[in-house]
Every structure is written in structure tokens, then in C-alpha cells.
């Protein structure tokens, strides 16, 4: 099995990707108990933003990331203010259902607007380095893969420091554990939710930018990838934030290894099978004690 290291290498890159796409979703769910199934569609927006910034104004897609993230942060805040805040008063079960339904409507709007604006044709972002392949001990690794790993590592570090060291970050963690107790101590829950929504979408924007570097983009990527994200979310344990990367890696490895056995087109079955198995045996996710 000479391909094994190669498969593993691709698995790592894919796993990091899964984690990156999921982290924004899990943050929002952990803090607010909203299942934003439109998260993938926002990632798609980020990908297109990255693409057009490059095509129209020659801004390198890596350099445009802060801009894309800032824009998406604002979109997230807007999204909260206009829509998601209406759900904050209802009970958790109703909120989960309602947020799914609401996000569903957003998918309709976002995905179809993308089709209307940019057609269903695939677009590929090509810079001087996007096709570069590196060779390392017999394994071929795309340069963009390393870039994505690098960017994601930065993001993980930044998130870790933010949640662990800053007051706002700690307030976010406290709110996600027990919002009522947090509010009884004076935390402004509305503001916490607003910021969390912004951060969630900013992370979606980052995922989109990384996506644009690595894969061809089209309006349907949102729906496809949010599905992966949701399975990774369940795998990690809904509400867990940091564990999604490990869960993403595990899932990617499983997919990669199984694609050798049953063929790449049936990748989706692996995610589904994993999903069902987890639900039957360990619904709280892999990392719950």
C-alpha cells in the first residue's frame, strides 16, 4: 500500500478543512443553541468574496482574508440583530427547531442569489501558487493545503487565546455553559450573542477563503459542506467547540481510508454511517466522558 502515506496526507488536509468549516457552526450552537444550517452558504459567500476580490481588484486571496473576515463579522452581527435575536426568548428545543427553519430560508435566499448572480458554472481561483505541488518524502502535497493548515492553526491559536484569556471570551464560554447564571451576574447576554454570531460568520468567511484557494467554487458547495460540518459537529459532541478539529481529522481519515475500499464516490455513505453509529452508541459525541 504505497499510497497510504499519500492518503493520510490528503486526509490531514481534509480533516483540517472539516474542522475549519465546523468551528463557526459549533461556536454558534454552543453559545446560543442555534443550528445555523445556512453556515455553509455563508462559507460559500466568503469563497466568492475571496474570488471576486482577486478577479476584480487583484487582491491576493490570502491577503484579502482579514477583509473577508471583517465583512462576514458585520454580516453576522446584522444577521443576529435582524433575525436571530427574535429567537432568543424561546425555549431551547423550540429554538433549535426554529433556527433550523430560519436558516433554511436563508439557504434559499443565499444559494439562489448566488446562482442568479454568478451562475452555476464552477469558478476556479488561480494564482501563481494555487497549483503548486510540493514533494516531501515521496508524498505530493499541494501548497494550498499547507497554507490552509497554517491559516487554520493561526485561527485556532487566536480563538484559544481569545476564549481563554480575554474577558469577552470568558463571558462567551460562561454563557455557553449556563446563560442564565451568566446573566444573573451581570453579563449582557444580547451582546454576547451578537459577538458570537459575528465571530461564527467570520470563521465561515475564513473557511470560504481557504476553500477558494483549494477547491473549485460553485453555489451548491454550501449545502454540501454544511452537511459534513453537521456530522463533524455530532461527532465532536454538540456544544463542544475545540474538539471539532480532532473530530474533523478522525472523520477525514475514516473517509480517506474507506475510499480505498469502497471507492471515492461513496464517501457520503461513510459520513452517514459514522453519524448513525455515533447516534446509536455515543450521541454525546466522541469526547464526552
Amino acid at each position: 500500500m504505497a499510497q497510504l502515506p499519500q492518503i493520510l496526507a490528503y486526509g490531514i488536509i481534509l480533516g483540517v478543512f472539516y474542522g475549519l468549516v465546523t468551528i463557526g457552526l459549533s461556536l454558534l450552537f454552543g453559545v446560543m443553541k442555534y443550528l445555523n444550517i445556512a453556515h455553509g452558504s455563508f462559507m460559500m459567500l466568503g469563497a466568492y468574496a475571496s474570488y471576486w476580490l482577486f478577479m476584480l481588484w487583484d487582491i491576493d486571496p490570502i491577503l484579502s482574508i482579514p477583509l473577508v473576515m471583517a465583512l462576514m463579522f458585520l454580516v453576522g452581527c446584522l444577521l443576529y440583530k435582524l433575525l436571530f435575536s427574535r429567537l432568543s426568548k424561546v425555549s431551547e428545543d423550540v429554538r433549535i427547531n426554529s433556527s433550523m427553519i430560519m436558516a433554511f430560508g436563508l439557504i434559499l435566499i443565499l444559494d439562489n442569489s448566488a446562482i442568479a448572480l454568478w451562475t452555476t458554472n464552477i469558478k476556479i481561483l488561480n494564482t501563481s501558487y494555487t497549483s503548486t505541488m510540493l514533494e516531501f518524502m515521496g508524498i505530493r502535497i499541494p501548497l494550498t493545503g499547507l497554507i490552509v493548515i497554517g491559516l487554520t492553526s493561526l485561527a485556532i491559536l487566536a480563538l484559544h487565546l481569545f476564549l481563554g484569556r480575554t474577558y469577552l471570551g470568558k463571558s462567551i464560554r460562561a454563557t455557553s455553559q449556563d446563560w442564565e447564571a451568566a446573566s444573573l451576574l451581570g453579563t449582557n447576554i444580547d451582546r454576547i450573542y451578537l459577538v458570537s454570531c459575528g465571530i461564527s460568520l467570520a470563521l465561515a468567511g475564513l473557511a470560504g477563503a481557504c476553500f477558494a484557494l483549494t477547491y473549485p467554487i460553485s453555489p451548491d458547495i454550501g449545502l454540501r459542506w454544511v452537511l459534513f460540518a453537521m456530522v463533524v459537529l455530532v461527532l465532536a459532541g454538540m456544544g463542544k467547540i475545540k474538539e471539532v478539529f480532532l473530530a474533523g481529522l478522525i472523520m477525514a481519515m475514516l473517509e480517506q481510508l474507506s475510499s480505498v475500499v469502497i471507492g471515492a464516490e461513496y464517501r457520503g455513505i461513510v459520513s452517514l454511517a459514522v453519524f448513525i453509529l455515533i447516534l446509536i452508541f455515543k450521541p454525546q459525541g466522541l469526547f464526552e466522558k
Binding site: 430560519m102 435566499i109 439562489n112 442568479a116 456530522v231 464516490e265
Partner: protein, 325 residues
């Protein structure tokens, strides 16, 4: 005349309108030639009614949001076609479609229904997408109906099949809602923990209604396949059908029986009017309307149909079970 009035008041204004409407749908095409275009739209409408009513049983009454309705629709279409081609008579093929969908439900139901709503949403969505992916690789070619079909098919026949299924679905929904099952489901929807504490096993009842709901969606798949004559399998598994059903049920008012009908009409209307201009434009507008409707329901699961009804000035109490405030 008095007896008529009595009957009408016991059913309520909406109920009466529904019955009159249903009668019209049955009788008018026999008398008037509506033409292919209108009949086709009506068939499409009836399929959406069936789908949205079946979705509503899960979503509006049991509180379980099924995001992958397409899985049951598509499986139904496929099973129907395969059984029909194998030589079975039409009704048998239709039932086979429903049963095929039920099988899928039995796979994803048990693990997801005993957990909170989010898992069901994710699970159903995953199943639908996976089935779509599998079907893209497995069924690359269109499947055609058997020879007997092409000889016996008429648009009118297709219309009445669709109508029968739609009416049947509403009847089934009515029976479920007004039975003990319906009460239990609403108790579960309103407070699953409380229901659990009073000795009800929520998972079991959710599973029962899931089987019913998926069966109906599967039959709807068969109806559409009959109408089309051939099916491009992957196309039956796309989100479009889920979208239509959910939008129809939500705009029209979930948790009511007439809501999905109303919503389906609005959805199909929007599609016809706007679909002419920009192909995806109607979806965007639908999405906007959809989000607006959702946003102004502070409790999420309140009947939007009641809002629309009061906005249109229809007051009137309906006999069906509506959601408490």
C-alpha cells in the same frame, strides 16, 4: 338549507371552504376542459400539498423538523418505478413506493428520534444527501415507465390520481391529528420532558408518525413519477422538493391542516408568476417571504396561518387542532 348551515357551522369557515374547494377540484375537470397547462400546474400543486401535509405531521404536530424530505420522495419514486416496470398494477406500485420510503425512515428514525430535534434535522438531511449522491453514481440513466403505461396514460387520469392521493393525505392527517396519537404528539411537541415524565415514550410515537409521514411522501413520489412517465433518479432527491414542502407548510401555517394547502398554493403561484422572469428569482423571493414569516413568529411554532387568516379578515374558528399560543 338549515341543515346545510348547521353542518357548515360545525365544521367552521375554513373547513367549509376546504370541502367546497375539494368538491370543485373533483367535479370541475370532468365538466370543463381546463387544458394541459392548468392541469399540470394543479398536479404539481397537489403533489406539494401531499408533501407539505406529510411534512407538517412531523414538523408542525410532532415538532420534529425533517430537512430531508426528498429522501422519502425520491425513494418512493424509485421504488414505484421499479415495481411498476416489474409488471405490478399501478396501485400496487404506488403502495410499494410508499413502503420503500418507509424503509428509509426505519433506518434513520430510531437513532435520531430518541434524541433532541437537532439530531433528527441533521440525520434526515444527511440521509437525503447521501441517497442523492448514491443515486447520481448508480442511476446515471433515466428510467422509463413500462409499455402499458404509455398506452393508458392521460393527463386527466394523472390529475385524478394526484387528487386522490392529496385528499387521502389530508384525510389521514385529519385522522392522526384528531386521534390519541395526535394529542400525544402535541404534548411531545410542547414539552417533551413533561410528556416523558407522564409515562409516554416519545420516541415510539415520533416513530409512528414518521412512518406515516414518510409513507405519504413516498406515495407522492410515485404520483409525480406517474405523471412524468420517466424519472431521472438523482433529480428526485434534490432539495427542491424539501424546500417546497417546508416553505408551503411554514408560510401556510404549520400545525394546522389547511395551512399546508394554503402555503402550497402560494408557493406554486409564486413559482408560476416569477418563474417566467428569472428562473431562480422565485426561490429568492420565496426565501425572503419565508424568512419574513418566520421572523414575525416570536414563539416559532405559532400558527402563521392564523395570522394570515386574520390579516385577510377571515376570523372564524376552525375545527382542526391549532397550536396554543
Amino acid at each position: 338549507m338549515n341543515k346545510l348551515k348547521q353542518a357548515a357551522s360545525s365544521i367552521g369557515l375554513t373547513g367549509t371552504i376546504v370541502i367546497v374547494f375539494a368538491l370543485a377540484l373533483i367535479v370541475v375537470p370532468l365538466v370543463v376542459d381546463l387544458g394541459n397547462y392548468i392541469l399540470t400546474i394543479l398536479i404539481s400543486l397537489l403533489v406539494f400539498v401531499t408533501l407539505s401535509e406529510s411534512w407538517n405531521l412531523m414538523g408542525g404536530y410532532a415538532g420534529q423538523v425533517n430537512l430531508g424530505l426528498a429522501a422519502y420522495f425520491g425513494t418512493g419514486a424509485l421504488c414505484y418505478m421499479l415495481v411498476y416496470r416489474a409488471g405490478a398494477p399501478l396501485p400496487v406500485a404506488m403502495v410499494a413506493g410508499g413502503l420503500g420510503a418507509t424503509v428509509v425512515a426505519c433506518i434513520i428514525g430510531p437513532p435520531t428520534l430518541r434524541l433532541r430535534g437537532a439530531y433528527f434535522g441533521i440525520g434526515t438531511m444527511a440521509v437525503a444527501e447521501v441517497l442523492r449522491l448514491i443515486s447520481t453514481t448508480t442511476f446515471t440513466q433515466t428510467i422509463y415507465s413500462p409499455a402499458s403505461y404509455w398506452i393508458t396514460f392521460t393527463l386527466t387520469k394523472s390529475y385524478y390520481i394526484a387528487l386522490a392521493v392529496a385528499i387521502g393525505t389530508i384525510v389521514v392527517a385529519y385522522l392522526v391529528v384528531h386521534s390519541r396519537l395526535g394529542l400525544v404528539l402535541q404534548a411531545i411537541r410542547d414539552d417533551e420532558d413533561a410528556a416523558n415524565a407522564s409515562g409516554i415514550n416519545p420516541a415510539r410515537y415520533k416513530m409512528i408518525v414518521f412512518i406515516i409521514s414518510s409513507f405519504l411522501a413516498g406515495v407522492a413520489g410515485g404520483v409525480l413519477s406517474y405523471h412524468r412517465g420517466n424519472i431521472n433518479v438523482p433529480g428526485q432527491f434534490t432539495m427542491d422538493w424539501t424546500i417546497g414542502a417546508i416553505v408551503a407548510a411554514t408560510i401556510g401555517g404549520w400545525g394546522t391542516l389547511t395551512g399546508p394547502v394554503l402555503g402550497s398554493m402560494i408557493f406554486v403561484l409564486l413559482r408560476e408568476i416569477l418563474g417566467r422572469t428569472v428562473p431562480t428569482g422565485y426561490l429568492i423571493v420565496t426565501g425572503v417571504v419565508f424568512v419574513l414569516v418566520i421572523t414575525f413568529l416570536p414563539d416559532g411554532l405559532t400558527s402563521s396561518g392564523a395570522m394570515i387568516r386574520s390579516a385577510l379578515g377571515w376570523g372564524g374558528r376552525s375545527s382542526e387542532a391549532t397550536l396554543p399560543e
